[in-house]
Symmetry: none
Subunit: 190 residues, 4 copies
DNA sequence: CATGAATGAGGTTTCATTCAT
DNA sequence: AATGAATGAAACCTCATTCAT
């Protein structure tokens, strides 16, 4: 067997990922306000000073977490089908994710707030969000062309509405399902 | 005589309010992550150890800020008129406030996140939000009765949609105006 | 009796001075290499974090020590008499100080080296040394005018020789007495 | 064949020397206060943990640097000629070295201070200095016998004066030239 | 009420060193 | 020999809090 020896944590680049995920969990639990290098280290079972071997500074770790978290969110496999179906599917996926993984969205909201005072994070997050935005616009434009959009809805503004509602709904995940369903209903013609 | 002493900053309950407002400003600028008793004290020009005469502990100050901030938000003079007009007016007021005072809403989002780990805050905030919620329901029910609500919209769910959208829109105040206008348009029949 | 209560360290500006002197002692014992805020604090019997109440940063403390140490050195009451007597007296005083308080000069050498990488210290030290230098020049010029200087000695260069020899001699205080005596003998005509 | 392996940095004893010289450069730049194994390793392009294959501990490296540095200084080829010429030549050489290589002397002063708290270094340095001292005494005794020494100068004390002045002068290399020239002039009869 | 001094827990980071590979 | 990962002690600094004045 070529398995790694037991009793030793498997080092290598996996350790880096493990740290990022541990930091993500800390963030989900206590927000930036309570993000401590010690706790992150404890999360993977190493000494807190060892983190600096992988991430020279706390900010470096934070950046990695932002990258990880945003990637986590915007990695949806786009389905086939017409624009209306794809839009519906997208909204359904969002709804499902908020219900299934509420922490992910909580962390994303935490990032939104942090980015206001951290240009480095802002750049990453804004970049990722821009991808989402343009994707939404494309879907809405397609739906509009198919005559399936509620009348008088500008696709660009519609995209903003979706983004805003999803973000706001994620702050109260228990009601998020109904909210997004209603948004779907109002936005797309039956 | 109950006159304030001459030559001294007017202490008393005004000092308490000043501290709360200073804390609010700190919160708007740096979030809970960077809320420091020292900075709050500096904001009103007193020594940081003096805060404890007004608020025994930091948490006490935070509670007071939550009270102040939520009061700030839900202090809208309800207009006269029919339910539809009142609903429209309410949405317009929300839109205006987000655009005019974006920090207020940022602080409210900060509170939303903090409340997840702070039952004391949760109670206050949830209480205030419940007021907003029931008020929205009343308006929407009235609008529905007047036949002015989009068909198939449950007033309770509609209230949640408004809350979610307003919260999410406040995270990007520059686009909030259009988003809430579109929400109005989709929700209320012309 | 208006004496300060026993059992409590007498606070006030004395504490600041006590810290500077404690830092001076640490410096004398271990040099900058081993200068620790903890040890300085222990030297006056307070918690190490309390130092920051008096000196926001370590560098601030270091600057204060430099000020204290250099002041310590260049505070010689100039005697009356002719230039030759004053010069002789000055050299005798230097000799005495090196023998009596070797640590003072060790610390001064430590400062000389540190100042090479610390512009803030350099400014202070260079300023003080310039005072010494010009004072030496004056004395040597006076001695030259009185025909008491060794022939062919430029007062300015003579001042540098005194400075260099004193500094070097302080590195081996046990031999410093004889060295400075010899310097006196070579520099000043009997 | 004892040839070095191709394509690899020539390891072996050369690596050891390279490390010592890198450490010397670090010392010249930042003193003991800022001497870091990491920086030394970076100076020769290897990982910092690899140093320990050549020097088990930092102190071992320091000892090697002391040996290297002191050897650097006292490796003067003694010239032929009479004692007076040899003395003059020696002083001229010292002057030249301070002017040409000021860092060498700065490092030596750094060592003088460190040796006060490090018996191991003290032994090495004192041993080397003793060689210099006795050599100076011999030269001065010779000069005295030739009637070329300033009257009333004890060779032993004269040697101390030279040592002290050279050390002190090295702390301000820009003025060292004139100072040592004046010392020569005062000590040796024209 | 306000302050200055002090505290102590805890934060991030640094660094020499060790060890398996 | 060299490396990457980990360690643990220790460094400077921050901050809410307490207390005597």
């Amino acid at each position: 067997m070529t398995a790694t020896r037991r009793g030793r944590p498997p080092a290598g680049p996996e350790r880096r990922n493990a740290l990022v995920q541990a930091a993500y969990r800390c963030l989900a639990e206590g927000g930036f306000e309570r993000l401590r290098m010690r706790d992150v280290a404890a999360g993977v079972g190493i000494d807190h000073s060892s983190i600096h071997h992988h991430f020279p500074t706390k900010q470096d770790l934070v950046v990695a977490v932002v990258d990880y978290t945003t990637r986590q969110f915007w990695s949806t496999t786009p389905p086939d089908g017409g624009p209306v179906e794809r839009l519906r599917h997208h909204l359904a996926t969002l709804r499902q994710k908020i219900v299934d993984e509420p922490e992910l969205h909580i962390v994303l909201r935490e990032l939104d707030l942090r980015a206001r005072r951290d240009p480095e994070l802002l750049e990453i997050i804004a970049g990722r969000e821009e991808g989402w935005r343009s994707s939404l616009r494309t879907l809405l434009t397609g739906a509009a062309a198919a005559g399936a959009l509620a009348p008088g809805v500008d696709p660009a503004t519609g995209a903003e509405l979706v983004i805003a509602t999803v973000k706001g709904a994620s702050l109260a995940s228990s009601r998020a399902g109904d909210v997004i369903e209603l948004l779907d209903q109002l936005l797309i013609r039956a």
